[in-house]
Amino acid sequence: MSALIGTLVVLTLIKSTPIIYAALGGVVSERSGVINIGLEGMMAAGAFVAVVVSYATHSPFLGLLAGIGAGALAGFLLAFAATRLRADQIVAGTGINLICAGGAAYGLVLLFNQPGASVQVNSLGHGFWTLIVLAFALAALLHWVLYRTPWGLRVRACGENPSAVTSAGLDPLALRTYAVTISGALAGLGGAFLSIGELNLYSDGMTAGRGFIALAAVIFGRWHPLGATAACVVFGFFEALQFVLQGQIAWLPANAMQALPYIAALVALAGVTGRVRAPAADGVPY
């Protein structure tokens, strides 16, 4: 029994980590006033590029950096649309999701000459544990940055009242661009964790809605880095629980059990009514 609980705890930490990175990205972005529906695609971009670079250079560390870079690039694309083009952020983010997932599928055929999944590449191995610790450390760091530094104050002001930021002589569009690019980098890191951390390959659909679960965690965690992280641990727990239960109890409906983390996110989403408030200018172009 205690071994089982131990497995559950470790698996919860592992399953929470990629969602935490994406959710921290979601917090930064939404605090600056841009809803990042594209987190899912940015994770896929990070996951895929990390595998490609690890394959090409045999260095999973370079793969990780490239994954972060790919996510940042996708984030910058959304930032550009959201700020300079004043685009509908939801529609643009949906576009990013399709571009990244489709691009990875296209890349699989083009580079590995096989649809569905890449070949196996060098993974991060034990570096994977470092990334788990780093996720929680980054949550604390982001909390400090958002609430204790001038830059954090400015980003939060962008999300609440961008014209006040302009009045203070700063450029809210530039701040939003930084925030959304960082958001993409974090999502890319989460994606790279999935592909070369937990596993050693990329397969189509491997992000499996985690970008959206992260968005639910942002709301459930009240747009707060530590709150969102706690929410991610809850969702990670249900994902881990599903694995552990499947191994233990034969009569459980294995396929239906896969819905568990998504149902948890739905319940969380419905359960916070009226008690949370998004940043006032969240999703509103400036």
């Binding site: 004043r86 529609v91 576009g95």
Partner: protein
């Protein structure tokens, strides 16, 4: 003039962009655009069989696109059409394997079952939004995964056909198959049903109080609320109807094309349909045209992959880019012209 410009430049611009991007994707894959495009066009329109397949894809995209369009009118972003379509198809497939009715009545019952299934799935998200203020984008997407997991569970076990090899329901009795539209192809009268539905929706949007309420609650929710529109009711109604239309599409896939349900019934129609709805400028009749265009891409894409070695997934990248670009266009248009999309 403005209406004309909105109607033509949007889709025309999207098509021009599409051609440029497709050429790029072909060059990257090491094929000349001429060779790639001729493979695509021949594969999509090169003969009766090919045209039939293109229209089959167009029909499969048309229903979820119309559903997404309806929700969009109310300012709701439904990215769960994929799941709603799947549940509708599951309802039709499961019921179709069980009922004994005269053929035509059976067909109508199965189509209704699809609409009920998809509608129920959409209504869950609508209820969550209306009752709890849950974000409908995340809710509809989460429900896609829940639908896929439950559908797989059901057709691997209780609903699995007695002779089925994989996760599939039993074959429908041929009397429940939708009549063919084009002989020797898989094209059924579902296409006509979709076009009729589009015409009906166009009328609802333009001429009915419900259509007006949808638009009002989408574009100016506060004003709509003050004028006495029940926004909560409209929210779940819009998402339910949106899901019902996608679910009806799922039922036409079962009764018209596959003649049974399996979990691979939709290769992402519900997501491509977002691009279809946007390229169609959220106008049901333009959406029919957009669905035909994307049908060409979907069915020609396979041929392009086979004969010109351009991965079919390039098409999904391009769909994403089109959505991305339209996100900017739409907003600029609403700003310049005073808020009416």
């Amino acid at each position: 003039m403005n209406a004309l410009r909105r109607g033509l430049i949007g889709p025309a611009g999207a098509v021009a962009l599409l051609l440029v991007l497709m050429s790029l994707a072909m060059i990257v894959a090491g094929t000349s655009p001429i060779e790639g495009f001729s493979a695509l066009i021949l594969g999509a329109l090169g003969g009766r069989e090919q045209i039939g397949e293109t229209l089959v894809s167009a029909t499969a995209l048309l229903f979820p696109a119309l559903g997404i369009c309806l929700a969009f009118r109310a300012g709701l972003f439904n990215i769960g059409a994929e799941g709603q379509l799947l549940v509708g198809a599951l309802f039709a497939g499961a019921l179709g394997a069980a009922i004994t009715l005269p053929g035509p009545i059976g067909i109508v019952v199965l189509l209704c079952a699809g609409a009920v299934g998809g509608g129920a799935w959409g209504a869950i998200a609508g209820w969550m939004k209306a009752r709890f203020g849950a974000n409908e984008i995340i809710a509809t997407l989460m429900l896609n995964f829940v639908a896929a997991a439950f559908a797989l569970e059901l057709v691997s076990g209780p609903l699995k056909g007695p002779l089925a090899a994989g996760a599939e329901t039993a074959w429908l009795d041929p009397k429940y198959w939708l009549p063919q539209l084009l002989p020797d192809t898989r094209l059924s009268i579902a296409l006509l049903l979709g076009i009729a539905l589009a015409a009906g929706l166009q009328w609802v949007f333009a001429r009915t109080v419900f259509g007006y309420d949808l638009r009002a609650s989408g574009e100016a929710p506060e004003a709509a609320r003050r004028s006495g529109i029940d926004i909560g009711r409209l929210t779940w109604l819009a998402l339910m109807l949106s899901g019902a239309i996608a679910g009806l599409g799922g039922a036409t896939l079962v009764t018209g094309e596959l003649h049974r349900f399996n979990t691979q019934i939709s290769p992402g129609y519900g997501f491509t349909a977002i691009a279809v709805a946007l390229v169609g400028d959220l106008q049901p009749l333009w959406i029919c045209l957009a669905a035909f265009g994307f049908g060409i891409l979907e069915s020609g894409g396979l041929a392009m992959q086979a004969s010109a070695q351009v991965p079919k997934d390039a098409i999904h990248v391009i769909e994403g880019l089109i959505i991305f670009v339209l996100a900017a266009r739409r907003f600029v248009a609403t700003r310049v012209e005073g808020g009416s999309p």
